[in-house]
């Protein structure tokens, strides 16, 4: 058996209390390690390539005002999954570009579970592992969108996930089914009753 990888976590939040709390919670699991907890968004972004986290927890209020989700469009954070930490409910458009949302009122184990599940679904497929070939519910949802002819960007917007995550879902779908082209995936979706023929045209 191989030793499970320890994922590097970076946290950016204006509140020292929240930073300490998250560090404490995440520190309890041996799958995750906090390499940085900061209240300085810009210095964090500048050092992002050096920190090279596997996942970033980011308070949306720290993101400089700009079109929603654009902090992911280019630059250093493009390929890293980003989870938002919320103190209160926010409208969906403010959460564009985030892969997942945790709330400060979430039980600690929920926060850890959410982080790990984001990491698992965005991880590169592991070759030759004996993993299951059934599509997950999330993958089925993405597949339906693909079959309806949606572009990666549209799919990301509709499911409130990053384009990076969409691509990684699509990779996993193709790996599991052995089907790579959009028209092939559409047939798969129809034969498996995930979409109706009349939805396609």
């Amino acid at each position: 058996m191989s030793i499970p990888k320890k994922y590097k976590v970076v946290i950016a939040d204006p509140s020292e209390t929240v930073l300490s709390g998250l560090k404490e919670i995440i520190g309890r699991t041996d799958r995750l390690a906090v390499v940085e907890a900061t209240d300085d968004y810009h210095s964090m972004r500048d050092r992002f390539p050096v920190l090279a986290p596997d996942i970033l927890i980011l308070n949306p209020s720290m993101v400089p005002f700009s079109p929603y989700g654009s902090f992911r469009d280019n630059g250093v954070m493009k390929d890293c999954p980003v989870v938002s930490i919320l103190y209160h409910h926010l409208p969906a458009n403010l959460l564009k570009g985030f892969d997942e949302t945790v709330s400060i009122y979430d039980p600690s184990h929920t926060i850890v579970t959410k982080l790990l599940s984001v990491l698992e679904r965005t991880a590169e497929p592991v070759q030759n592992s004996e993993d299951h070939y059934e599509l997950t519910d999330r993958e089925k949802e993405i597949l339906v969108s693909v079959a309806r002819g949606m572009m990666n960007k549209e799919i990301a917007d509709q499911h409130h996930i990053s384009i990076h995550t969409v691509i990684s879902h699509r990779k996993n779908i193709s790996r599991k089914t052995g089907i790579k082209t959009v028209s092939g995936l559409t047939i798969y979706a129809i034969l498996n009753g995930l979409v109706d023929m009349k939805d396609i045209e």
Binding site: T181, S183, G184, T186, I187, Y188, I190, L191, N192, M197
Partner: protein
């Protein structure tokens, strides 16, 4: 004579397929060479004649004959610089053209027909989209053939002529086959894994056999283009500009 198992990627050795062996022996060694021999313009019913004799009779150069057979038999085969230099461009183009005809007029229509019967035998109506998928694949493949027939082949023939065009290079030549290959692979996987049971099983097996065979044959066709045609064109282009 002992026949070797098919489809096992064997290591290439120069003394297995030779000009002295009988043509029938050659086919026994690898029966996937049957359509290759046909596309080279050699008819079956050749009795006991050797490869060299058949080549002389049908005016095919022995070197080219063995080259094509080796490509179709060994995945590890790489033509030597000497072998490449000896190729007559017009002989290569004629073979590639015959291959296009063979796929377009026989293999693909036959596969399509069988697929239609298979789809008809299934109880669900959704399987009808498979015919549409196949039509899409066919259109893409034929489009690719047409490009080669109308643009690439005339260009190569001109390069090889006594009066080659100067200062013109065909840059879009190394076209991407990926999507076309992926579609064929998708079709195979869909029929193998996801077409519901209850369809005509013997037809399904037949269609799958045809798909695997077509895929192998087309892969070799791509190899002919990548390993022989493309190096040949760049050599001819160099020679032309040096004149």
């Amino acid at each position: 004579m002992e026949t070797q198992p098919l489809q096992q990627p064997k290591e290439y050795a120069p003394d297995i397929l030779t000009s002295e062996m009988r043509l029938a022996e050659l086919v026994d060694t690898n029966y996937m060479l049957l359509p290759v021999i046909e596309r080279l313009g050699i008819s079956l019913g050749f009795g006991e004649i050797t490869v060299a004799e058949a080549c002389a009779k049908y005016k095919v150069s022995t070197g080219f004959f063995l080259l094509v057979c080796n490509i179709h038999t060994y995945n590890s085969f790489m033509p030597s610089a000497k072998e490449l230099e000896a190729i007559d461009p017009r002989e290569l183009i004629s073979y590639l053209h015959n291959s296009h005809e063979y796929y377009s007029n026989r293999q693909i229509p036959r596969l399509r027909e069988k697929l239609e019967s298979l789809v008809e035998s299934c109880r669900t109506t959704q399987t009808g989209i498979l015919n549409k998928f196949m039509a899409g694949y066919q259109a893409e493949l034929f489009n690719h053939f047409r490009y080669e027939e109308e643009t690439v082949f005339p260009y190569v023939n001109e390069l090889a002529s006594d009066n080659p065009p100067k200062g013109y290079s065909i840059e879009t030549f190394e076209k991407n086959h990926d999507n076309i290959e992926e579609k064929l692979d998708d079709l195979k996987n869909i029929i193998l894994k996801y077409l519901p049971s209850g369809c005509d099983e013997s037809l399904r097996t037949e269609v799958l056999f045809d798909l695997y065979r077509l895929k192998d044959d087309l892969d070799k066709h791509t190899m002919m283009e990548n390993l022989i045609l493309i190096p040949l064109v760049s050599r001819l282009e160099k020679e032309t500009s040096a004149r």
